[in-house]
């Protein structure tokens, strides 16, 4: 495919994802170095796009009021009761840091001969989040951090 230009059927198959993997790879390699074929591909893609846009425009959508009501009901369904909130507070992931922080405060307050210069505690989640933020430019990095780490008490 690198020596000879792909024909229109092959370009259409490429746009529809119907080429075998090896031919698809060869098509990509060819397109990368052949502006003429790129242009043909873009023309075909534009036609496909126009047809898809037309199909979408004629598709029936749910009435906006119904969509809003469904969203509101979902939002209400996830609101926890006071009992659930209490249980959430006592789950280990919340209670353990709270207990640890309380123990640390008591230790710092009453420990005899405790030095004035004490190490500052820094949450491991801070390092992991900073790492994820700076690494977000890498080709396969997940630019959205895991919720478990962002929801810890990061903001102080």
């Amino acid at each position: 495919m690198n020596e000879t230009h792909p024909n229109i059927d092959q370009i259409v198959d490429h746009l529809h994802g119907e080429l075998p993997a090896a031919d698809e790879a060869a098509m990509h390699a060819h397109l990368a170095g052949c502006p003429k074929c790129q242009e043909r591909r873009n023309e075909e893609a534009a036609i496909t796009q126009t047809l898809r846009a037309h199909a979408l425009a004629t598709q029936l959508e749910l009435p906006p009021a119904l969509v809003a009501r469904i969203r509101m009901e979902i939002a209400e369904a996830v609101q926890p009761s006071w009992r659930q909130r209490l249980r959430l507070f006592f789950r280990p992931i919340v209670l353990l840091p709270v207990a640890a922080a309380a123990a640390l405060v008591i230790y710092l307050r009453f420990s005899p001969g405790h030095s004035a210069v004490t190490p500052t505690p820094i949450d491991a989640a801070y390092y992991v989040n900073e790492h994820a933020a700076l690494a977000a430019k890498a080709p396969f990095a997940d630019n959205v951090p895991p919720a478990t780490l962002t929801l810890d008490d990061e903001a102080r």
Partner: protein
């Protein structure tokens, strides 16, 4: 541009060391580049399952909406603790919606919008990984091509991505440990190529927005970060095969000046944090193990593919975080002058 220069130097060095490395498959490589850049022009919605292996394996499920080029929202449904939480990424900022505490935390993100930096990172990836075509598979009702990434230094498969045959969106991403076991899998269960309305990306009304600490720093070159640290930064003399310094940052967290240096091999990343004052590591939810690094006591914790190693050296505190294994992190740590 500095990032590009640094990587160019690293690549020149790597070219000498990778004797006999085979040239990458140009076609598969071009397909991979299309996949990496697909989200800048492609809008979609879908449901994604993320399986994280390791000691405590778990599955997370979220609904995703992406509006090209740079609006993304994830709404979590599993596990139950995350249900109702959401993460919104918008033009370089991350908003974490914490439904339990009724607030939004605003943080910095460095999205892949800088095409020069992306090209440089991709060049680093191609230098360190062989790109191989794998078999077809249907995911979420779509035909996909598989592309494997094999590390040239270890000759092991590090990652497998499956890309939509038509749109080139990555519908599955598998990461493997050094022993070949699956440690992380992201997979679309449902995908639809349509743009969600812009109103879907608004923050919930009545939730106060709290600034996260990571908004403080501005990314720069590693050399510049070291120069502007305000204290004598010690850099490692050893990096795992193919890794190069790519970015730096100077931040002040809880009153402590911290230098953050990022090293990468194109897929895996390692961060070195160097604090200018004594600090301790808080590990809520994870129990750290105690190890010795070159005679120094250190704490080690692992969550899925991310490993964290932390230790003191006099008035300085160091933390390494990354996707390299503990052995590599210990070697990096040992190579930092005492």
């Amino acid at each position: 541009m500095k990032r590009v220069n640094l990587i160019a130097v690293a690549l020149a060095a790597a070219t000498v060391t990778i004797a006999g490395a085979q040239p990458a498959n140009d076609g598969a490589s071009a397909m991979l580049m299309s996949a990496i850049t697909a989200t800048s022009t492609l809008s979609y919605t879908g449901t994604v399952e993320v399986f994280r292996g390791g000691k405590s394996s778990e599955t997370t499920v979220y609904h995703v909406e992406h509006r090209a080029p740079n609006l993304t929202r994830r709404s979590y449904t599993q596990p139950a603790d995350l249900s109702g939480d959401a993460v919104l990424v918008e033009r370089g900022l991350i908003y974490s919606v914490d439904s339990e505490r009724h607030r939004v935390v605003e943080r910095r993100s460095d999205p892949a919008e800088d095409t020069t930096a992306l090209d440089a990172d991709y060049a680093l990836l191609r230098e360190n990984y062989r790109i191989v075509l794998e078999g077809d598979e249907a995911i979420a009702g779509r035909r996909t091509f598989g592309i494997g990434l094999v590390n040239k230094y270890t000759d092991r498969s590090t990652m497998l991505v499956r890309i939509d045959a038509v749109t080139k969106l990555i519908l599955e991403k598998d990461e493997f440990a050094a022993d070949g076991t699956l440690v992380d899998r992201m997979r679309f269960v449902v995908v639809r190529y349509a743009a969600a309305p812009e109103s879907d990306f608004s923050l919930p009304p009545g939730f106060p927005v709290v600034r996260g600490d990571s908004l403080e720093g501005t990314p720069e070159s590693p050399n510049r970060a070291v120069e502007s640290a305000g204290f004598a930064v010690r850099e490692p003399h050893f990096l795992p095969g193919g890794f190069a310094p790519v970015e730096g940052d100077v931040v002040k967290f809880r009153g402590i000046r911290t230098v953050h240096l990022l090293y990468s091999d194109g897929i895996r990343n390692v961060s070195l944090f160097e604090n200018a004052a004594p600090s301790t590591l808080e590990t809520s939810g994870v129990t750290p193990e105690h190890v010795h690094v070159d005679g120094r006591e250190a704490e080690y914790a692992q969550q899925e593919t991310t490993v964290l190693l932390s230790w003191d050296d006099g008035p300085l505190h160091y933390t390494l975080v990354g996707e390299a294994g503990l052995v590599d992190l210990e070697r990096i740590a040992s190579s930092i002058d005492k």
